[in-house]
């Protein structure tokens, strides 16, 4: 069993989680990465995706985060998320609404750069939707 470390998940409105956990899988913008105790100082942007937290009892919680930052240091991990919703509370409508919003952005995007960023986000949101769909089917 892995050693526990301090994990904090904060959204602009409040401190969502602050507890000792064993392992956290973060959806980094360059790919998923796992943080264990004593991680070297590391900072990454977070893309919309699912964050997996394994607590000391070995229970895994999944949380939807909509972009932000992860700041890992030997002392612990802090994730600053624009939005953080536990998967159980995440309604499919919320996600599809978000997807429609991004699609609207793509349709009205003026520059190629904006279009590229928005379609990237769309792909990530779709991926989350697919992941959620596969688990509910179980």
């Amino acid at each position: 069993m892995a050693e526990a470390f301090k994990f904090e998940l904060v959204s602009p409105a409040r401190l969502v989680i602050s507890e000792e956990v064993d392992q956290v899988v973060v959806p980094g913008s360059e790919g998923y990465f796992t943080v264990l105790k004593g991680h070297s100082p590391f900072m990454s942007t977070v893309r919309p995706g699912l964050l997996e937290v394994t607590n000391a009892a070995g229970k895994t919680t999944r949380i939807f985060v909509a972009g932000g930052f992860a700041d890992a240091s030997p002392n612990g991990l802090t994730v600053l998320a624009e939005q953080a919703i536990p998967v159980e509370d995440l309604k499919p409508e919320t996600l599809s609404k978000e997807i429609t919003a991004v699609e609207a952005v793509i349709a009205s995007a003026k520059s190629d750069e904006a279009k590229r960023l928005a379609s990237e986000k769309l792909g990530q949101l779709r991926e989350v939707q697919a992941q959620l769909g596969s688990t509910t089917a179980h």
Binding site: S11, L15, G28, P41, S44
Partner: protein, 293 residues
């Protein structure tokens, strides 16, 4: 000497006013508690954000190539003042003290030959600034119907600020709001938005100058972080403002209720005096009339 009837109506009207101010005070107390909680629960995010920013910004100190949002665009000709106030009045000096701070700052800048523009968040600040600087207000944001302050609202203001900055409308942005120190103390505060005000590294910060590995890269992270920081700072200011507003309203309504009580007391004394004077006068008239017979 006012007539007895007019005194009676005065007392009744002051009593009615007292009831209203008392009710407003109690509402403010209840809302203050909620606003204070919202302000406190938003603090961790802003603090962590400042910490991350301080960590990253250290790497760019005195170096060329720092992002414009951090270093500024090298000019300081046009200043943008983001003035956050309440949408409603009846809260003592809350709105006017923020507006005054902004006005003084603007006058100082103008006397230095700089240009000043305003962006108002909240109706009351816009009203009082419109009198002095009618053509310098770029936009006014009002959140009158909103019951709670959501991050999206602040994000909208932040996006607007960034849009204006990218369009070259201004060079330096400063924000004005009221910091909630305690229920009886709210401090009008000014804070730099662009270039970002990087807090001096807090004692016991998470990393002691440790070298961070960054993904994608430091510059990219900063580019993503700085615009977000603007929104977060505005959000924090709005929450602090919310708490300050109710704190200020509570204490001003408290003193209004007390003043009304004193007034009622004084008016009642006058009323009773004149009533007794009238009775005495009538008695004297009756007695002297009886003696004459």
């Amino acid at each position: 000497m006012p007539s007895l009837k007019s005194l009676r109506t005065r007392i009744a009207s002051v009593k009615a006013t007292q009831k209203i101010t008392k009710a407003m005070q109690m509402v403010a107390v209840a809302k203050l508690r909620r606003a204070q909680m919202a302000a406190e629960s938003a603090r961790p995010y802003a603090e962590r954000m400042a910490g991350v920013l301080a960590n990253l910004a250290g790497a760019f100190e005195n170096q060329p190539g720092a992002p414009v949002l951090l270093a500024g665009n090298g000019k300081d000709k046009v200043h943008l003042l983001v003035v956050c106030t309440g949408d409603r009045g009846l809260c003592g000096a809350f709105n006017s003290s923020i507006a005054r701070l902004a006005r003084d700052h603007a006058n100082r800048l103008l006397s230095e030959g700089k240009d000043v523009k305003f962006l108002c968040v909240g109706r009351k600040g816009a009203e009082s600034l419109r009198r002095v600087f009618p053509d310098r207000i770029l936009d006014v944001f009002e959140f009158k119907g909103a019951r709670t302050i959501e991050f999206e609202m602040a994000d909208g203001v932040g996006k607007k600020v960034l849009e204006l900055f990218e369009a070259g409308v201004f060079d330096i942005a400063t924000m004005f709001y009221s910091r909630f120190k305690s229920v009886i103390q709210q401090i009008p505060t000014q804070q730099g938005l662009i270039p970002a005000e990087v807090p001096a590294k807090a004692a016991g910060a998470t990393s002691d100058g440790a070298i961070y590995d960054c993904e994608p890269g430091e510059a990219e992270i900063l580019e993503d972080l700085l615009p977000r920081n603007v929104s977060v700072q505005i959000f924090r200011a709005m929450l602090e403002n919310g708490a300050s507003f109710y704190g200020s309203q509570m204490s001003s309504m408290d003193s209004a209720t007390r003043n009304a009580g004193e007034m009622i007391k004084k008016l009642t004394t006058i009323y009773n005096r004149s009533r007794q004077a009238m009775i005495t006068k009538e008695l004297i008239e009756i007695i002297s009339g009886a003696e004459a017979v």
